[in-house]
Assembly symmetry: C2
Homo-oligomer: 222 residues x 2
């Protein structure tokens, strides 16, 4: 039984490790796409747009590992909560990768126009979203509820920046018709970044459930 | 053992039933919000915007049922795949409910302006998305792979409509400055509808995995 248990813990640690690796890859793609947008680097954008396959392969692998752990080991209580959380977190990270692709596509369209403004808030949103994803995943691996709650609290900052981006760009669109189309793409980019923050929030909620078996979703009180 | 097995099947059937009920609620909210937008019914929009709690309660309940089935019954193979699919589908339906709220909020802002155009493609998108969700859930309950694949194939129609909505509204924004702000909200609404279609697609993929134990995600070939 002891050997069996150790084997199970090894498999579970591997699952967590792969999930962390996948998260790192998603964060890297997020930072790359914003860097390429700000640096007007069309090749960098093309690399992000076409580079989703490693993340998708990890997504399949992690689902498979989680499913095998559920099927073969029949884990209970805390371990079961961890594996179910891993399945959900896996989906969130995969969507973050998809959103990096969406940002790359909107950025490529944006770069076909002259700049409408210096980009300040959008890179801020990118940094904030990346840090939220990183901390949510750290909270998962360490089982750190406090860090997870801290991630939940940061979602408002991202929402505030998104609203400011919208107001600024609407102002530009109303004063200069040539800025309508490129501004639309910047607005879409800010929405994609907001959604990445939402996925970090989902991960943080799953961590809190995993650690405390307490469902904090939909309570409005992090 | 037979009684135990029947009890398990009853619990699993109840889980599916509740999921179907939740899906019906989400579809109803989607249809209501589009009807209220088209009919310029601000009270109807406010009802959708504030009416997410029953869906959230079902979300918690279904997660709880799925978790108990996993923990107490230690199901194997096909049943395990069904329960894991249910957990994922539960998340997708909850997000569809959130998107109905987002649509209600954007619609309320839209209605503070005079109409920018007759709304034709957006209600079409709403109907298409609702039917995709409905069929994806029917495919889940019946274990119908063909219907699930059919849902996957309809995602392109929704994408096509979204692009047409964008082109039309961009044209209006460029010719009439007063239409910039309300048109932006219609564009956001069309994006929210597209995302509802994405969630229906996710559900359909989970159904195919459940039935065939074949992972069709990320293959590009439905």
């Amino acid at each position: 039984v002891d050997t069996h248990h150790r084997r199970f813990q090894d498999d579970l640690d591997q699952l967590k490790g792969r999930l962390l690796e996948m998260g790192g890859l998603a964060e890297e793609r997020l930072l790359s796409v914003i860097r390429a947008l700000v640096g007007r680097d069309t090749e960098g954008l093309a690399r992000v747009a076409s580079g989703d396959e490693p993340l998708n392969a990890l997504h399949r692998e992690i689902d498979d590992r989680a499913f095998k752990l559920l099927a073969l080991q029949q884990p209970l209580a805390a371990d079961l909560r961890t594996i179910v959380a891993a399945v959900k977190i896996n989906t969130d990270i995969e969507r973050i990768g998809d959103l990096a692709v969406n940002i790359a596509e909107a950025s490529s369209r944006y770069l076909t126009h002259p700049p409408v403004k210096d980009l300040v808030d959008i890179p801020l949103m990118g940094d904030l979203a990346q840090k939220m994803v990183q901390d949510a995943l750290d909270a998962f691996v360490r089982g750190d509820q406090d860090l997870a709650r801290d991630v939940l609290n940061r979602d408002d900052q991202l929402d505030g920046l998104k609203s400011r981006v919208f107001r600024d760009l609407l102002g530009l669109m109303l004063t200069d018709q040539a800025k309508v189309k490129p501004s639309l793409d910047l607005i879409l980019i800010s929405r994609h970044l907001e959604r990445i923050g939402d996925h970090a929030t989902n991960i943080a909620e799953d961590v809190i459930f995993m650690v405390s078996a307490l469902d904090v979703r939909h309570t409005g009180a992090p």
